[in-house]
């Protein structure tokens, strides 16, 4: 147990260092808060890094399709933690009726990616903190702690700087915004062990109810629960040590199918 605690201490120290380093470079920053366990853990770390008070806004991209539990959680803790919360929506797309029933790929793209892009343009953020982890999803394994996105929002694989974490170098060119990933080296189990140690509040959806729980939360329309009896943090940690199911299994297939459908439609199928 002692070694495990020191592992968490090490992760915590690294993350706090990255958080402070990026802030001192960019000042005009924000944390992307999805209300999920990872970004809530990140928010916790940011508060620790700045002695309890967030010196920059928390940005929530609201697709309007989130679970009610997520909205309740957001309201409660935005108030309790005194957050400067910016809630942003792609109103234009919503007015046009973009939604999961019209195509999940377009929905995700318009209501998340485009909405975020607009918020960054409006607020002029130079860097964003994200709670992504390397073990989460295939493509995310390639992310770096500091990951630049160009004007078009494309992630430029080829120009990816060498691991800046090791170089303590965080300059970005004017037209880019930098994505900062302080939790990149954490695993799903690390997150839960830290949540337990720090007593960080998380959304109730993560705890099993009637044999099901969510391992990953987002929009009500696109997240499926997994079979689970884990109704406490201890049980969740126990479950994760034995499971072979991927964390995002409730989400991944739907999106691939939808992308597939979009490709087939463009060639006249369906």
């Amino acid at each position: 147990m002692a070694s495990n605690l020191s592992q968490l201490d090490k992760l915590e120290n690294q993350s706090i260092f990255i958080i402070r380093e990026a802030y001192s470079q960019f000042k005009n920053v924000a944390i992307l808060w999805s209300i999920g366990k990872d970004s809530t853990t990140l928010l916790w770390l940011v508060r620790k890094a700045f002695f309890g008070k967030l010196p920059f806004p928390a940005l929530h991209i609201d697709t309007t399709h989130k679970f009610q539990e997520i909205y309740d959680f957001r309201a409660k803790y935005a108030k309790e933690w005194g957050l400067n919360l910016i809630v942003t929506k792609n109103e234009e797309a919503l007015a046009k009726g973009v939604g999961p029933d019209k195509g999940k790929f377009q929905c995700c793209n318009e209501l998340k990616t485009v909405a975020l892009k607009k918020a960054i343009a409006e607020q002029g953020f130079k860097a964003l903190y994200l709670g992504i982890r390397r073990d989460e999803h295939g493509i995310r394994a390639k992310e770096r702690v500091f990951s630049p996105r160009d004007e078009d929002f494309e992630w430029d694989y080829k120009n990816q700087p060498p691991e800046l974490w090791d170089q303590y170098k965080t300059k970005a060119t004017e037209e880019e915004h930098l994505r900062v990933h302080p939790l990149l080296g954490w695993t799903e189990i690390d997150i839960w062990e830290y949540i337990k140690r720090e007593n960080i509040p998380v959304c109730d959806l993560y705890y099993a109810k009637n044999g099901k729980r969510f391992r990953s939360i987002g929009c009500e329309t696109c997240c499926g629960p997994v079979d689970s009896e884990a109704d406490s943090i201890d049980k969740i940690i126990e479950e994760l040590k034995t499971t072979k199911i991927s964390e995002r299994s409730g989400r991944a297939q739907d999106k691939e199918d939808d992308y597939m459908m979009q490709k087939l439609r463009s060639l006249g199928y369906m």
Binding site: Y157, K158, Y259, M261, L264, L267, Y269, M270
Partner: protein, 424 residues
């Protein structure tokens, strides 16, 4: 011969008549030279004549009732929910898991997500994530450096045709660069490279092929010339011991009309949806006797097989005859809309025959059979100007000691057998 390498070049959708013409008129001079020195024949595609089925048949050397892929989409068991068969759905291993030596496989449709294999593979249409499209993963950085693109974004063709054509050429260039890179750096015995932009080009710009004064006529020819240059380059690298196969998976022709088969079934009262619900396969009601999946696969709505199934086994014969009559008698301006109506036993054989459509149709000349349930008319003319054909694919084989091992009228699943026999 037995020690030679095998090289297969696929040209998605390119019809026999076009490759012959381009070989003769100088658009594809290298191909023209190859045709003179090879067995060169018209070839049948699979039925249905879509890329997923045709390429799955080619690489496994088997028909859909053996390899299990009947289309780009299928229904999940006991439901009306779509599922998309992919490389994991294939019930027969592809040739690279059977043949001796290492293989390099580039851009073969329906090979996503890739699996570990003896050699290297980059999957083709429909590939989604790059990371799941390349084996071994160590190739990813180099392919990114070559700006490798899995596919063109065909969605762009609907809004920005110029941009789409630029992408088409860039995709081709990167594909050629990547084949060179893998040809040189990998140790291989079998090499397969498929060009797929040809299919996209013919879907959107068949008219540019036919009309010499069309704005994109020259672009069309140039694209084929660029492919021909790569073909010439490959042919020059081969020795007399090597076997070269060039082929398409289906043919192409001018599209006169899209034909919406589910609308026909609705009109005949054979396809019904839940009251108030959108027209969608997901909303089929128990009044439904039959429905169509792309491109022209007809399924009876059997009781027990589907949630709202209502057809009893005893009604099968009567229903199939009725449907055969409806489809075979369909005409427009005196032309037969449907060339052939096949029952499953006529064209499929194997352990997965139960999954086959009850009827499969092949369109008459110019008629593009579709399953879109949202269309409120039987005939329409949309954005596409070219359509697939079932009986005008082509096959070219160079390097055989005995030409007679190529069947008189080959089919797309004969190709691997031809290679295997040439080596024995």
């Amino acid at each position: 011969m037995a020690n030679g390498r095998t090289v297969i070049i696929g040209l998605d959708g390119v019809p026999f008549g076009m490759i012959k013409e381009f070989g003769e008129n100088g658009v594809m001079p290298n191909t023209g030279e190859l045709i003179k020195k090879s067995v060169f024949k018209k070839m049948n595609s699979s039925i249905p004549e879509v890329s997923s089925v045709a390429w799955s048949s080619m690489i496994t050397g088997s028909n859909p009732a053996r390899h299990g892929v009947y289309g780009f989409m299928d229904l999940q068991p006991e439901s009306y929910k779509m599922t998309f068969p992919n490389f994991n759905s294939l019930k027969v291993p592809p040739f690279w898991e059977k043949w001796e030596g290492k293989s390099v496989i580039i851009n073969v449709p329906s090979t996503y997500p890739v699996k570990q294999m003896n050699g290297a593979i980059i999957s083709g249409f429909v590939s989604i994530e790059f990371e799941k499209s390349v084996y071994p993963q160590s190739l990813i950085p180099q392919l990114r450096d070559l700006d490798y693109r899995l596919d063109v974004d065909a969605g762009k063709a609907h809004s920005d045709i110029e941009g789409f054509l630029v992408d088409l050429d860039k995709t081709l260039e990167a594909r050629i660069e990547s084949y060179r890179f893998l040809w040189e750096t990998q140790d291989w015995q079998n090499f397969m490279l498929v060009f797929t932009a040809t299919d996209r080009l013919m879907h959107f710009l068949w008219d540019a092929y036919e009309q010499k004064d069309h704005k994109y006529h020259q672009f069309f020819l140039d694209h084929f010339s660029k492919i021909d240059k790569a073909i010439g380059e490959i042919a020059d690298k081969l020795t007399d011991d090597d076997l070269l196969i060039m082929h398409s998976d289906h043919g192409f022709e001018k599209l006169d009309y899209d034909v919406f088969l589910n609308y026909l079934l609705m009109e005949e009262g054979l396809l019904q949806f839940e009251p108030g619900a959108d027209a969608s396969i997901a909303n089929i009601s128990s009044g439904t006797k039959a429905f169509v999946m792309d491109p022209a696969r007809i399924y009876l709505n059997y009781k027990g097989k589907y949630p709202c199934g209502s057809v009893e086994p005893g009604q099968r014969e009567e229903l199939l005859s009725k449907l055969e009559n409806i489809f075979s008698s369909l005409e427009l301006n005196g032309k037969k809309v449907i060339r052939d109506v096949y029952r499953k036993e006529q064209i499929f054989a194997g352990p997965y025959l139960d999954d086959a459509p009850d009827l499969t149709l092949v369109g008459g000349e110019g008629f593009n059979l579709k399953a879109n349930v949202k269309m409120q008319k039987l005939f329409d003319k949309g954005v596409f100007t070219g359509k697939h054909t079932q009986d005008t694919a082509f096959l070219l084989v160079k390097g055989l000691s005995d030409d007679s091992i190529v069947p008189e009228v080959p089919a797309v699943w004969d190709i691997t057998g031809i290679v295997e026999r040439s080596k024995s």
